[in-house]
Symmetry: D2
Subunit: 391 residues, 4 copies
């Protein structure tokens, strides 16, 4: 950043018991430059109020609805009102909430996926452009230092021409739900199309895999062939999916996301193969980035070392082998967004190189991914053209 | 086995400098129950002769052509002639060589792929059935003890209903060839369609991946969608390929084989996910088999332990953590084939459970795999029906 | 905790550029229940002031000396003054600073080692007892959830009778310093006996290894044989050391700490062997705890799973395979200390099971360790009796 | 080698059911240049005869005693008698058997430890020198290609000046025996001092650890401090031991061997730290050698690659990532010994660089190690001077 004060943050969603809201708060707090000062933590006003007490907030800044919050915060004096809002509600509400705050002139950090449909996403994209405000999407896995290092390798030509990308996101938790709750159980709201959208597994975690590949390689998808499956009978949405990908420029890819891969925890990983060498990164071992090349020893590059790029070094908070994890990576998204917000607050220009946080454009690409894989799968896993992204 | 003598082996191909011929000889020799006594090691008679000297053979048993060898060996007295022949020539000759020895009443061990086309394979299949002789195909990766353990797990229901299979075979050596020899270089005969067949990468190593998945899961492919690539311009055949698979019974799969995955060495691996748990096996770390299950610690099962199945224990030669590798796994194919041959020699019936070596039927399935992926890919990666296997 | 407000924290040391001070602040901040409100961040008043601005503090709460800070904070009204102070200065000042705040009635969190000599440590121990205040020592490695799981295993008898403990703490950074700065360079103040104490390597990281073994096993050392080395000529203190240990009760141990193990980063690890099984934990891969037992598959227990003990589950902030690291472990020490402090603030009794943070007694044991290894080494690596710990 | 025939091997010990005898035969057989033609496989003549039948030997070459065997083989015509004998009996008989064959002019391959006492070993050393015959000791772990690579690194100065060596050999099988057989059970003859010698654990596996460190580093021990333990009550010999080592030249070391490290299988491993970098090798993952260096990515060097030394490449039989294991490493000892024997048979001079197999001198060093650790331990783990080795 630097301001002579902390940024003031509000939150919509994320009340007692919500996993991702707690993560957002820890991520925002970690660097000591952001204070949570207001929120509407639940659509249930009592729960919202109780959550506000948990967070030691002034009761007058805990709201019963996001609409009221946007309106009343905007009306506060400049030295009191929130600088930005974090939206951590369910997918189907992101659009309306974001719209309310953008129209109130308040910057936004929003959980992914961006919103409910690609059409809705494009509207939000237009709103953001028009507003000139910061809109950061928490595709948090791009916050890991060694993911940034991977991107630097690709950008710097270390891999040569890219040939093949394999990205996987296997989880197994939706198998457990089955065993505990009987066949066809819906493990949570993610399986409800009216809340979650056109896809469960691909929308929830497939988009992370897509975003990770896109962030590291800079490649857009040209055509995709996807087969979504619902392995547990009775579920209205997919719990697994496999895709073949043709990237613009000729590289080929495999993308696999699953929530029924029994015993897998959160095993997002990517391998990128080029003419000069290849890289591998595993989210469950995030402090390492592996380099392989024909006729040379394998190399294990590790977070916190001086031999890394400035991008990777700048994203680390501790020295080598003092492991960093999920929260720190998430906090890097917040730090980059906060820097952008502080620059606006201070009336500073954006740096030439821009900021390193996922944007509304990345969110639109994610929605295009969801719509494309659903469309391909419904046709029996035929190849479909990927919508053009104008970034 | 047991006979009161060693089995007598002949070899076609595998002269000086040939990699796979040397592996076959080490594998055959390891248990001290097979003697190499005859051969036609090259289509070049001088090279065949020199190779015979390398192996300390009686010069009268070193032949200038496989046809001569089959004829003259068959004419030798029963206590001298070879019990079986190992065929380690290039793909396009397997059929003719195997036919010659089968018709001479001699058992066959043959390198993979079985032969040149599916049609040829079906003819060979008929010949073998008619002859009643042993025909073993060296899909050697199924010889690893922990692969046998994996099969036992599936058979015994440990994984529950199978949902998903991911099998990969990345190599990178064909990237190197490129760098050393200039664009479009053909790294070896495998890139020559008149020798190698309709596919290079899928024929050479994709078939191993297919065979491994089939051996462990027992599942046949119902439909397949494959995209083969030739990333190095000028090559007449594929150097990479990605497939989506629909298995009979509803499981879904991904199969990926590549020879341009820079820095990968011989990284065949498989993951099988079922409703009750999942397994993982990596050929580069072959003495371990990983078990994962929701809500339970991961388990690493290791070769040579008493807690393993009889199949896995019987396939080991050393105690736990005295690592076994590629040659020992290869030798297990030879040991199983030799047992079958010895039973025939001794006039014993086959055991009820049969023998555990890859057969001509497995070879036909492999050729069906090659033809299917080539067909799918030529259509633009459309789904094609897999030929019916009658086993 | 729970209070209806955040705890107020002060800090001594940890100004601009200090590594461990920044870690303490992140750790304190992570759970949103502690606010930094005052400090004396440097013995240089200008630097202290500038650091206070970095942290957005009220200038009237930024002090030029720790003595002034203790005195003036104690004089503030109860609803303003700090609840506790974090001491992150160099080793030789811990005693005096801690004494000042304890005598002012302020709770203390202190970096390790406890202080300069065992005698000084025993005096501080008496002071703490007399004061009745909370004194937490940041032996942060015991904050990892899987270290807590390991302790639960030992306590619950899972390993049977303990036979052998191997604990290692290899680092390599003091080799680098050599290469960059010429022979005999002192990489930092840790090599200065007047600041660091009787030992560099054993005092800085050997104590962590000792504390980790003690925390997990509950065993005290009976006799120790230590050989300290100074491999880089010209250094006044040890940069490496090896110890054999006889634990009370009959177990045997090896402890090895080093700062010249080239290429090692921060590879603290421990293996504990009992009659019924053994455990292994590596700080560089902290989310896993390995279980080995004769005649059974190895098990990998992973943070965040339901099958773990309450102690391990309670120490986690994210679900399985959303990796946690060094800062989160450090924050667990703060959380436990804050709970104890909040209980005192609220006038609540301590829970029967006590609190799970390292205490002044652990600090005294660490000083006994340092003095014992130095004594043994000076005698030529003879066995010496370990001082009696009365806990 | 090259001869125009296979070498003829005899064996003493190694009858039905003996583990190490079977390994010796597989190792000898692997390269197709050695034939087992004679043996005295057991002190029980019937068992010896039955074993000879298992191996398809001419009954006239299967003997009832080693003395008879030495005498009668020596009396056979030069084109029939064995070229060398492999001794795979228990420790207490090695000396007498080796003496008999050396005096009969027959080369010897002998299992370790060399013999029963250091004094006996020195007599054998003299006998070998006098005879001029080949005497190879199967310290098989030095046969691994990546161990040879490690030695090349040290020799070539890649590590700089050596500072520290940590070598471990944990096994756990002697814990199991306890559980199965009750307290005090002797798991096998290795626990019998009249057969095994002055030490069980250190004699059986500690010597391997010592030999491995000596092979890779070329360093001799100057002083050693050892504490042997017998953790399972009632055992007459040690089942565990820890040593501190002062190497000649100033390096320091830790050596740890154990048979009660529950759940460990055969986890021999070594780490060598120098001023310029360090290496790590684990026998359970033998195809890799790890290189670590300050301020540089870690490197994983893998067997079979062109970037390795000639020594490592020459010791491999398969391409990279076609894993090799214990038997292949063992076979490398046989191959080197066979080359030396063939040179003598053919009347060729030894190559200038010598041969790469463990010798009687290495065996003497191993006996000195055993005697030294026993002596130190009996004195209460005091430092003792290591006997001078004259090589």
């Amino acid at each position: 950043m630097k301001l002579n004060r902390k940024l003031r943050m509000g939150m919509v969603g994320g009340g007692r018991g919500a996993f991702i809201g707690a993560v957002h708060r820890m991520a925002a707090r970690l660097d000591g430059e952001i204070d949570l000062v207001a929120g509407c933590f639940s659509s249930d006003p009592a729960k919202s109020k109780a959550s506000g007490e948990d967070f030691f907030l002034d009761p007058s800044r805990v709201y019963a609805s996001y609409a009221e919050m946007a309106k009343r915060e905007a009306a506060l004096p400049a030295d009191q009102r929130i600088d930005f809002v974090s939206i951590v509600t369910r997918n189907n509400t992101h659009y309306a909430v974001a719209k309310a705050f953008l129209e109130a002139g308040i910057h936004v950090v929003c959980d992914k996926p961006l919103c409910f449909t690609l059409a809705e996403g494009r509207k939000l994209q237009a709103l953001v452009k028009k507003s000139g405000l910061v809109f950061a999407l928490t595709h948090n896995y791009t916050g890991y230092p060694m993911v940034k290092e991977a991107r630097e390798w690709v950008r710097g030509g270390r891999l040569g021409r890219l040939l093949k990308i394999v990205v996987e996101y296997p989880q197994g938790y939706a198998i457990t739900a089955l065993e505990q709750q009987g066949d066809g159980a819906i493990s949570n709201w993610r399986m409800d199309p009216s809340v979650s959208g056109a896809s469960n597994c691909m929308g929830d975690i497939g988009t992370h895999a897509h975003n990770l590949a896109r962030y590291i390689t800079g490649l857009e998808i040209d055509e995709i062939c996807a087969e979504l499956s619902t392995f547990i009978p009775g579920r209205p949405l997919d719990d697994d999916g496999n895709c073949l990908i043709r990237f613009a420029g000729g590289a080929r890819g495999i993308l696999y996301a699953s929530q029924i891969s029994s015993g897998e925890e959160n095993n997002l990983n990517i391998r990128v193969f080029g003419t000069k060498g290849s890289l591998q990164w595993f989210q469950e071992n995030p402090n390492e980035l592996i380099w392989k090349k024909a006729d040379a020893p394998q190399e294990v590059h590790r977070r916190g070392n001086n031999y890394l790029s400035a991008a990777a070094q700048g994203a680390a908070r501790t020295p080598f082998a003092h492991p960093e994890g999920f929260i720190e990576a998430f906090a890097n998204v917040y730090r980059a967004a906060a820097t952008a917000i502080a620059d606006q607050v201070a009336g500073r220009k954006a740096p030439k190189a821009g900021y390193d946080y996922p944007t509304v454009d990345d969110g639109v690409a994610g929605l295009a991914f969801i719509e494309s894989v659903v469309k391909s799968s419904k046709k029996g896993a035929k190849w479909v053209k990927f919508p053009k992204m104008k970034v």
